[in-house]
């Protein structure tokens, strides 16, 4: 059994941002020398997400708007968590909805994704240093 661990660091310019990380993940799969296995890609923060979707900027704008209007409005006064001095309770709820990690199968040494699937880091409370762990397991 082989394993391989790598960390990606992000400091986004905007507070909310969606970043395509497919190439970085593919590079670690290659580095792992795993032909058949799984790669876990997981945000190490509770106000961020990792997800699989479409590389289309209109959709990214839709996702950010939907998180604000439907999922959890930023509105700091609405949440008890923000009485601790934070203002980011909404980012926690957005992370819970979209999820913080994905597992992708590795087949014949490649990410076994569908034709339109790409991997994204979703930053819901950025402008500071944050991290994603990539862990490959297989043979």
């Amino acid at each position: 059994m082989r394993s391989h661990t790598h960390y990606l660091w992000f400091t986004t310019a905007k507070r909310q941002e969606i970043i395509d990380i497919t190439d970085e993940v593919e590079r670690e799969v290659t580095a792992s020398d795993v032909a058949e296995g799984f790669v876990l890609v997981s945000a190490m923060h509770i106000t961020a997400s990792v997800f699989v979707n479409d590389h289309e900027s209109g959709l990214w704008a839709d996702i950010l708007e939907w998180l604000e209007e439907r999922v959890a409005p930023w509105d700091p006064g609405r949440y008890r968590h923000n009485q601790t001095g934070e203002d980011n309770a909404a980012a926690h709820l957005r992370s819970l909805t979209v999820g913080h990690e994905v597992i992708v199968p590795i087949t014949e040494g490649r990410l076994d994704l569908g034709p339109w699937q790409r991997l994204f880091y979703g930053e819901w409370d950025g402008q500071r240093r944050k991290r994603v762990v990539i862990k490959v397991l297989g043979a």
Copy 2:
């Protein structure tokens, strides 16, 4: 370490549909000859989900209604993604909410599910050929 990969294909009659795939997944676990491990079941499209829930048709109707009323209304004019000529932005947001993959433990050669847990494919933009990957890893 053993691994086993299998693809399921779907062309649903309706645009939104929920399909129980537990038996197909169990069959691949048996074929893999893995006694202890994980099976990943993952939609290869960004407008579909794989999830674990209850085999009860009233609940399936509730899920479809909830996706429309609470999660993301279909309403094509509402989304920027649909300016690319698509009308399925809502299906992307539904996939983000419900998730596109699950991992189930395999214990003593069987899916280690609770008494009411079943595996489902959730098609949110169907009537065309789509695919799910089943990948077993273990020993």
Copy 3:
């Protein structure tokens, strides 16, 4: 390859409750003797969640309120599933939103979590005996 399986049982005092299970999961990772691998933590019921977030009681209150107000109101008359004699359809939809399982990487024999990440069991229909499976895989 090593594997290790353990079940946690819960009977919550309240119908909805959030319980920190990080220490229990860490204990099983140690017992597994796995240095590099994955641990799957998965609710065996379709009206519960396992998720990663923050150990902060204000946030837990926010999550419970958000599930009721934004995600899926309990309101039993609203759902077809409840015509089967149940009243818990909302708990199913909450489980679909938050998810029922997480995978955490194991690095150098420890849960490879970020500084604020903790593991939680989310009970959305409690006051009865329910179960979570912990499964470790690695080497």
